[in-house]
Structure formats: C-alpha cells, structure tokens
C-alpha cells in the first residue's frame, strides 16, 4: 500500500468513528434533556449500547495508522493540538467509564451523577475531535467552528440512530445524518492531504504494514458486519441491556 492508499484508509477509519461512535456521543449528550424519564434514559443507552465497543475502535485504529504510517504527522498534530488531544482522551475515558459503570448500581444518586458525567464528557468528546480537525486546517477559527459543528451533528445523528433502533423511523434519515457527520472529516482530510503525505514513513515500511492489514481485512469486516447487523435490528427481547 502506498502513502495515498494509507491516507484513504485513515479517512475511512475516521469516518467510521464519527458515524458509529458519533451516534453514541450524540445520545450520551442528550441523556438529560428535560422531560426524559429514567426508563427512557435506560432505553436510549440500550439502543446505542452495542455500538460502543465496535465503534470506538475505529478512532484507536486511526491513531494506529497515524503512528505506524504517518508518525511525523502525528507528532506535529499532537504538538499543535496539545490541549485538544488531552481533552479528547480525558473525555473519552470518562464517557466510557460512565457507560460501563452507570447501571452497575441501583442507587438513583449514583446513576444521576454518571448521567451528568456522560452528558458532559460526550459533548466534550465530540467538541475536542472537531477542534482537532480544525487544528489540521491550521487555524483557530476552524477549530472553534468545527468543534461546534461536531457537537451539533453528533446530536442529530444520535437522535436518528436511536429513533431507528427504537423502531420508529425509516432508514433514510440515518444515511443523511451519517453523511453529515462524515462531511467535516472528509473535508479536513482533503485540506490536510499534502501535509499528511509529507509525514509518511518509507515506501517499504508502508508496503510491509499494508500486507498485514490487507490479510486481516476479511476478519475485520466480518466481525464489524456482524456488529452492524446486531444494531440494525429493532431493540427487543433478544437484546442485552447492559448499560
């Protein structure tokens, strides 16, 4: 695989993350919207729950591509976007802990506190990712604008995915919101492309790494496909309510 092919893979991984994990973020951020009952909150978490594990791995994989194929671009991005990266990983950790721990206790106060933590961290997660995209554009205004855009789009997208899983809407809104959350990523990659290509490792290294990834691709797609099939179903008696 050549550097451009790795760039396309990186784009695909980032798009995968905003589409899959973006829905989790959007629902998480909306958890305490006025008028939601405890029961509705649990159903919403159950609706997007199966997306958490197979979704967040896309950004970790993207970070792996940056590290393995574009290490110089990664160190540059981390230096320029230092606060955004710190905010991203911190909010990510809190969001995950919130999902896993919230429903492990029955106490109302315990759940309330985690719900708040989930709302704040989910919002910050979308925002810091958006800001980091903006850093790649190379200016502060883009960082602020994209942070806000990312939060808004994740919210809309999360709502569409939850509505679909709870069995009340058609498929079209889902495609539309997926396209919407993906747009800033694709635009950013286009803008940052020349810079990214400069930050790649040697041809041989890219090729060697590419062979391993291609060999594993069928297994990756099979597992992800099964996960999507699970989420494409209407939430019902065959699901597991863990979050």
């Amino acid at each position: 695989m050549s550097a451009p092919a790795w760039g396309v893979l990186l784009t695909a991984l980032l798009v995968g993350w905003v589409v899959l994990d973006g829905a989790v973020q959007g629902v998480g951020a909306s958890l305490l919207r006025p008028g939601r009952t405890a029961e509705e909150r649990r159903l919403l978490l159950a609706a997007v729950g199966p997306l958490l594990l197979p979704g967040e791995v896309w950004l970790i994989a993207a970070a792996g591509v940056l590290l393995g194929a574009f290490p110089h671009a990664e160190s540059e991005l981390a230096a320029a976007g230092y606060p955004a990266v710190v905010a991203l990983v911190a909010s990510w950790a809190v969001r995950d802990a919130g999902f896993w721990l919230r429903s492990r206790r029955t106490s109302v106060a315990w759940r309330r506190r985690w719900d708040r933590a989930i709302v704040v961290s989910s919002t910050l997660l979308s925002a810091s990712f958006g800001a980091l995209l903006g850093v790649a554009w190379g200016n502060a205004v883009a960082a602020v604008v994209l942070a806000v855009v990312a939060v808004v789009l994740a919210g809309v997208h999360g709502r569409a995915v939850a509505a679909r899983r709870l069995g009340m809407t058609a498929r079209l809104p889902l495609w539309l919101t997926s396209g919407a959350v993906a747009a800033p990523v694709v635009a950013t990659m286009a803008v940052a492309w020349p810079h990214l290509m400069d930050g790649a490792v040697s041809q041989e290294a890219l090729r060697g790494l590419g062979i391993m990834i291609l060999a594993a691709l069928p297994a990756l797609l099979l597992a992800q496909g099964a996960a999507w099939w699970m989420v494409a179903r209407r939430l019902g008696p065959k699901d597991v309510v863990f979050f």
Binding site: A38, E39, R42, A46, G49, P50, L52, L53, P54, V57, I60, A61, A63, G64, V65, L66, L67, G68, A69, P71, H72, S75, A78, A79, Y82, V85, V86, V89, A90, W92, A93, V94, D96, A97, W100, L101, S103, R104, R105, T106, V201, E204, A205, G208, L209, M212, I213, L220, A223, A226, A227, M230, L235, G236, P237, K238, D239, V240, V241, F242
Partner: protein, 428 residues
C-alpha cells in the same frame, strides 16, 4: 521538575494504571472461555452462572482497561515525539498492527459476545470468547514487540538518523519481546488466579458463617469450581513466570540495567523472585488440598483463616507486576531505545507547566475512574451470582429497574395475565 521528568512520570503512572487492568483481562480471559465452553457443551446451569459472573467482572475491568490504554497511546505523540520521528517506523509498526488488527478485532468480538448473547447459538457464542482471548493475547504480544524493541533493539538500521526495519523476523523473535511476553503471561495468570481464589474464598466464607446452610445468596458450587480454577491458573502462572523470568537474563545486560536506578531495579528483581517462589509453593499445597475436596473440609477455624488470607492477598500479584514493569523500564534508562536514543533527546518542546496540567488532569481522572471501577468490581463480587445483568433477558433487567408495563411489553415481559397477550403495537 523539568518537562522531561513530568512527561516520564505521567507516562509511568498512566502505564501502571493501564497495566493493572490488562493483567486481569489476560489472566481471567482463558478461565471465562473455559467456563463458557463447558456451559455450551454440558448445558449445566452452574457453568452458565459462573460464565455470567466472571464475564461481568471481566467486562467491567476491561472497560477501564481500554480507556486507560487510549490515554496511554496518545502519550507518545504528546510527549515523546522524538521517538516517533527517529524510531516511528520500527516502533510504530507493531503498534499499528495492534490497533488496526488485534485490538480492533478483540473489542468488536467482545461486543458481539456481550450483545449477541441471545442471538447466537451457544457454540458460536463460546467460540467468540475464545477469539476474544486469542486476539487479546495477540494484542499484548504486539505491544511487547514494540516495547521489546526499546529494551533490546534488533532487526533495524539507522539511515540518516531514522530507524528502518531490516529484519522483521528478528524484531518479532526478539527475546525481549518473545520471552518477556511469556513472562508477562505468567504474571497475568497469577493475577487472574489470585482474583478467582480471593473472590471465591470470601464467598465461601460467607457460606460457612451462614452455618453451612445454603442460603439464597451463596452459590457454593460456583465458588468451589472457581476456587479450583483459580488455584490451577495461579500455579501455572507462577511456573511460567519463574521459567521465563530467569530466561530474560539471556538478553539482559545486568550491569547496565543496574546503572541508573540500582536500588529499585535490584529490589524489583528480588521481590519478583521471592513472590514467584511463595506463590508456586502455595499453589502446589493448595492443588494437593483439592484432592477429594480436602480444602473445603478443613477444620472450620483453619478454613476461615485460610479464606481470609486468600481474600486479603488479592492485590499482591498486581503490586509485584508493577514492580516488575518498573524494573524493566527503569533498567533501560537513560535510554528510550537502548544504546540508540536517549530519553532526554525525544521529549517534546511543551513547557513544564503544560505537561504538569495534563499530568494532574489525566492521572487525576484515570486514578479516580480506576478506584471507582475497582469499588464497583468489589460490589459486584459481593453480590455473587444474584441478579447478574450480563446475559439476563432484557425484560428482567428493566423490570428490576422499575420500568413500566408498556416498556416491558416491548421486551416480551407481560404484566398481569391477560395484558401479556395483547400486541404492544396494536394496543397503542
């Protein structure tokens, strides 16, 4: 403290937190897989309860392991960019394989295992967990390949100040990766064994103090089997850790390892050795006591005391493993890549104040989350096999939660007779 000291301290603390979760993930994984398989094969309810109980512990532990791992992965770019600029091609390659293949699969498959509980046939479900264990181990190995390169750099050459891979096989078969992976595997199994034994012991003690009568919250069969599994897991782990522990001296330069932090590295080695010997000895004795269930028929006073000790000792292998890890990382200093690149040459240009802020924020958050997670784990352990959420029918979970009748209907749980027959969609 300089920015370099702070960056190193931040990395060390975050790595330690991450590592504590990984130890249990890798140590408990095979046991959950075996329990799940026995459930699939025999269909016995005791294996179902055991799988669900230990699976739940596995999951709640795994969740924070990922979170801590993410925080860790981004540390390189944040604080050690020079490492990526010089050795990114060699060091980054195994990490890229880890994130894109091994970990990607592990997490996706684990998601299928948890949320596909009622969707897949039992045999497929059990197989999924074996794949989770396999990819989890592959993931740990690739990380050790990256770390082994730092400890004992092989299979590369420096071209214009940038490291290039010349021999991928040497990189993978590096004893600092391969031998050390087995050593860590041993450490993980010991940790898993101690948790299995400690939790089972405190459950069985509860049972015994309830006068031996099987009360509703005590699932004696599960705890006895878990105790057995734990003793064997810990013993096997101790033997593996010992064997591969000594084997590590094959690549290690003892004098150089002692050069910078002689006290810490030396006592790390001594404590590991002592602990491994004690654990193996205890493991053999307990394994003998499993014959004809002698362990469970000891005099009550003695047995209670033993159970108490077992429960108290749960943290021990975790502490020892952190010491082992520290001795490896400190033994490498002042190098980040032994003999090739100094740690002081790779740190980022961030001011010390910025590194301090991120240290306080990230370590503070991760330590808080870790403590909360462990607290939840102890509560889950204390609840035993009662009201397990993993693998429960969703309607049951929601009913325990106090959900209303219309929600329950959606999950096939009827209210009073008569109502349950109505089709939910039509009724509304």
């Amino acid at each position: 403290m300089t920015a370099e000291d702070l960056a190193r301290l931040q990395f060390a603390l975050l790595a330690a937190i991450h590592f504590l979760f990984v130890l249990l993930t890798l140590g408990l994984g095979p046991v959950v897989a075996i329990l799940g398989t026995r459930w699939a094969v025999t269909g016995k309810a005791v294996f179902e309860r055991a799988t669900r109980f230990w699976g739940q512990i596995y999951l709640v532990n795994y969740a924070l392991g990922i979170a801590a791992g993410i925080v860790l992965e981004l540390q390189f770019g944040l604080h050690f960019p020079g490492l990526l600029d010089v050795a990114g091609e060699v060091f980054g390659a195994p990490l890229a394989v880890e994130t894109m293949v091994a970990f990607f699969l592990e997490s996706t498959l684990l998601g299928l295992w948890v949320f596909g509980w009622h969707l897949f046939p039992r045999w497929l479900h059990a197989t999924l967990f074996w794949l989770v264990v396999l990819t989890g181990y592959a993931s740990a190995f690739t990380v050790m390949v990256a770390n082994g390169f730092l400890r004992n750099p092989v299979g590369f050459e420096l071209v214009d100040g940038v490291a290039r891979i010349t021999d991928p096989a040497a990189l993978i078969l590096n004893p600092a990766a391969l031998v050390s992976s087995f050593h860590v595997l041993g450490a993980c199994l010991i940790a898993g064994g101690f948790v299995l034994v400690g939790v089972s012991a405190s459950r069985l003690r509860r049972h015994a103090s309830a006068g031996g009568k099987v009360s509703a919250d005590v699932d004696e069969d599960v705890w006895r089997r878990s105790m057995r599994a734990g003793i064997w897991t810990g013993l096997i782990g101790a033997l593996i850790a010992t064997g591969f522990g000594y084997a590590q001296f094959s690549y290690l330069d003892t004098d150089a390892s002692m050069a910078t932090y002689p006290g810490l590295v030396g006592s790390g080695w001594a404590i590991m050795e002592m602990f491994a010997n004690l654990a193996a000895l205890a493991g053999w004795v307990l394994a003998l006591l499993l014959i004809r269930n002698a362990l469970f028929r000891l005099r009550p006073g003695l047995r209670h005391g033993l159970y108490r000790v077992m429960a108290v000792l749960v943290p021990a292998p975790f502490v020892v493993a952190i010491l082992g890890w520290l001795s490896r990382e400190l033994g490498r200093q002042p190098w980040v890549v032994t003999g090739v690149l100094r740690t002081s040459d790779v740190v980022s240009g961030q001011p010390a104040s910025a590194v301090l802020v991120s240290l306080v924020a990230l370590v503070g958050i991760m330590a808080t989350l870790a403590v909360l997670d462990w607290w939840v784990l102890t509560r889950l352990a204390a609840r035993g096999t009662e009201r397990l959420v993993l693998g429960a029918p969703p309607g049951e979970v929601l009913r325990d939660d106090g959900a209303g009748a219309d929600v329950l209907l959606r999950f096939g749980v009827g209210g009073p007779a008569g109502v349950s027959g109505a089709a939910p969609e039509v009724a509304r």
